[in-house]
């Protein structure tokens, strides 16, 4: 074989990688991306810090006035006691504890987000107390405090009943029913609304990141090929290596440079995500179970990695072919817009499809190779996808990449020598071996 893929593909790839990562623009862009990524992952903590200064509203329902007043008193003492050293007069109370008129009203207010939680107290037939605690966010310390206060009031209430009677009724162990109003039913399964919102958020972030990566790194490939034509070094290169070696090396080297940049900003971002709970615990004294990025799991990261790499490869070959048919970087600008259309459609389809992730159109698009890196990833994140569906989508994508690489290499080998003159499509396709010579 005259032109085995190795080692020339590797030699070209290493040069591409080195030249790219040594560039000042690359390093500056990477530093900027690291800062942005860390900033985004720290944003939820920042929001929560800002939230520290906001007031949470807790509702208390009890049919008896005394009972309601006692509960409110206990909760005030438990939740709104200033920390040691704080001036009680100047300290801003974090909770507003109010009596509500009806249990249904209390629950409705929690569901609508007007209240963080509501405690509903019910007198039982045997004179004891039962409690229903409805909440909409995750605040373990607050929840434990409220439930402890309820227990205390229950004991106090029993003590009040037995005072002055010789016939002491047994203590009614109160029933504590906790309801998280962010849990909803979906297809017979309980879905954590907060987790779902987190997954939506992740889906948008991941899909946009793949789109931006394809656009930027794809243009790197195209501009590299166009620059080699423009500087005429292509003349030397095609004498030394086959167009397929040059194209694969270029895609691999640029892809690796992109991957290095990705890892450079994903690693610190991932570290922040992993440490989010500890950071929140350190800052606020509670864990960050409700952080918007809490939905990140290993299989989601793996899916993201697979669709990122495959999506990049598919589009990188197209960009390489585009870079080979223009005469220089100026002409490439004209191709940039049409080249970005396909990934743009995929990105938009994935984001707009999120609310209807199970619709036939979204499912169909998740198997179309140009769109599957976006749409299937979105389905994996927010929908329920069978393993065979993921396998089929990846399989179709891999087959498409092989076809795209073959086609791109034909275009590349014809395109790298075209300069200046107008070339008919028929002539070009013949030169690329895609039409019979005539």
């Amino acid at each position: 074989m005259r032109d085995p893929l190795f080692p020339n593909t590797v030699v070209v790839a290493i040069r591409e990688l080195r030249e790219r990562v040594r560039g000042r623009a690359y390093r500056l862009a990477t530093l900027f991306l690291v800062a942005v990524a860390v900033g985004i992952t720290l944003a939820p903590i920042g929001l929560r810090a800002a939230d520290q200064n906001t007031v949470s509203y807790i509702g208390v329902y009890a049919a008896e006035d005394d009972l309601a007043a006692t509960h409110i008193l206990f909760l005030e003492e438990s939740l709104n006691t200033p920390p040691a050293g704080e001036d009680p007069d100047r300290w801003e109370r974090p909770y507003r504890i109010e009596r509500v008129a009806t249990p249904d009203g209390a629950i409705a207010e929690v569901r609508s987000g007007r209240r963080s939680a509501a405690l509903i107290v019910e007198r039982t037939e045997d004179g004891g107390l039962d409690f229903a605690y409805h909440s909409r966010d995750v605040a373990p310390l607050r929840d434990a405090t409220i439930l402890l206060a309820a227990q205390s009031v229950s004991l106090l209430d029993w003590a009040e009943i037995v005072r002055g009677t010789s016939d002491v009724p047994p203590y009614h162990q109160p029933k504590l029913r906790t309801v998280n109003e962010t849990l909803a039913q979906d297809g017979g399964q309980v879905v954590d609304q907060q987790l779902l919102a987190s997954r939506f958020f992740l889906a948008v972030i991941f899909v946009v990141m793949i789109f931006v990566a394809i656009l930027i790194y794809g243009m790197w490939v195209a501009s590299s090929a166009a620059a080699e034509k423009g500087s005429r070094i292509m003349e030397l290169l095609i004498a030394a290596a086959s167009p397929l070696q040059l194209m694969l090396g270029k895609v691999a080297g640029t892809g690796l440079a992109g991957l290095v940049q990705y890892i450079a900003f994903l690693v610190p971002a991932a570290v922040v995500v992993v440490l989010q709970g500890r950071i929140e615990g350190f800052l606020f004294g509670s864990t960050g179970g409700g952080a918007p990025l809490a939905g990140v799991t290993l299989h989601i990261l793996a899916a993201y990695g697979v669709f990122f790499v495959l999506g990049f490869l598919l589009y990188a070959f197209m960009y390489a072919a585009a870079g080979s048919i223009v005469s220089g970087l100026d002409d490439l600008q004209l191709l940039a817009m049409p080249m970005s259309l396909l990934p743009f459609i995929g990105c938009i389809a994935a984001i707009l499809g999120l609310p209807a992730i199970g619709s036939p159109l979204v499912v169909f698009l998740s198997f179309v190779p140009f769109f599957s890196p976006f749409v299937m990833l979105a389905r994996i994140l927010v929908g329920r996808v069978q393993p065979w569906e993921v396998a089929l989508s990846i399989g179709l994508l891999v087959v498409s990449i092989v076809i795209a690489a073959w086609l791109a290499s034909r275009v590349y080998r014809a395109g790298v020598l075209i300069y200046g003159q107008r070339t008919s499509w028929r002539t070009f396709l013949r030169a690329a071996g895609l039409l019979p010579a005539g």
Partner: protein, 340 residues
Amino acid sequence: MSLVVDAVRKSFGSVTALDGVSFSVAPGSVFGYLGPNGAGKTTTMRILLGVLTPDGGEARWRDVPTRSVPRGTWGYLPEERGLYARMRVLDHLVFLARLYGIADDVARRDARAWLKRFRIADMEERRVGELSKGNQQKVQFIAALLHDPEVLLLDEPFTGLDPVNASLLRDAFTELRDAGRTLIFSTHVMENAEALCDAVAILDRGRIVTSGTVRDVRRTSGRQVVRLAVDGEDGGALAWLSALPGVTVTRPGRDFTEVVVGAGRDPQSLLLEAQARGERVLRFEIADPSLEHVFIDLVGRPIEDEAELHLASGGPTPDLADDGAERSSGARAEAGGEVA
């Protein structure tokens, strides 16, 4: 056991770039491939490299089709110079050598030796873009031969070199030939072709119009050059020569006059004519016409005109269709081609 180009044809759309081109080059020789811009020289070189596939005919090196010959057989200096401007000189040379399978340390060592040979050793750590055009050309020449190819294909290697560097290059040519390498180069400088080549071929409009040893080609037309000087204040200016039938004054001068004498006229007749006119002849010299004369005779226009036409056309150089696209009598040429 030589390089044989046998009836090679190549068209790009409606433009015929090569029309049955045939010639052969002996191993270990220097071969001049001459022709005006648009003649098809670059297309021929690309076919030899296997970059383009001929529509008909075949090119063989040591009886093997050139498309099947390992890439490392060839060293190529394209007419359009181009290097990675941001790469450092030594790294660049090593990178190109590694594409031909040369080990990193060997490439580094040999590159340094050649850089020293071409007097740019102190520039190995400089970025290519910081070098002068002449030095970039030397780097590119080194890149063409660093992997020690059997055949060097050099498209206008002397363009842009000052006399000192041109002399260095000529010395390198001779040394490489003596080492058994085969050199094929195109040039507009006929003096270089005459001085360096064992054989030449002149290509015009995709066809070989003459080929052979330099001496044979110079004698192709049957014309001869006569240089004549007579005694007197203006001994080189002999106005009467231009009036003679079959005689063309090519260089009227103060010291001597040079004329080309047509095939039907005996050069000795000029000496007789001078004596008949009572001139005291100081110098009378008969020589074969220069390659430049032959070139003008066969191609019909001097090389300088071709170069000026090329520059005046502006814009990017048509390349895939090679210079052949320029021959399309003003029509935009279609271009196409394939790269192996």
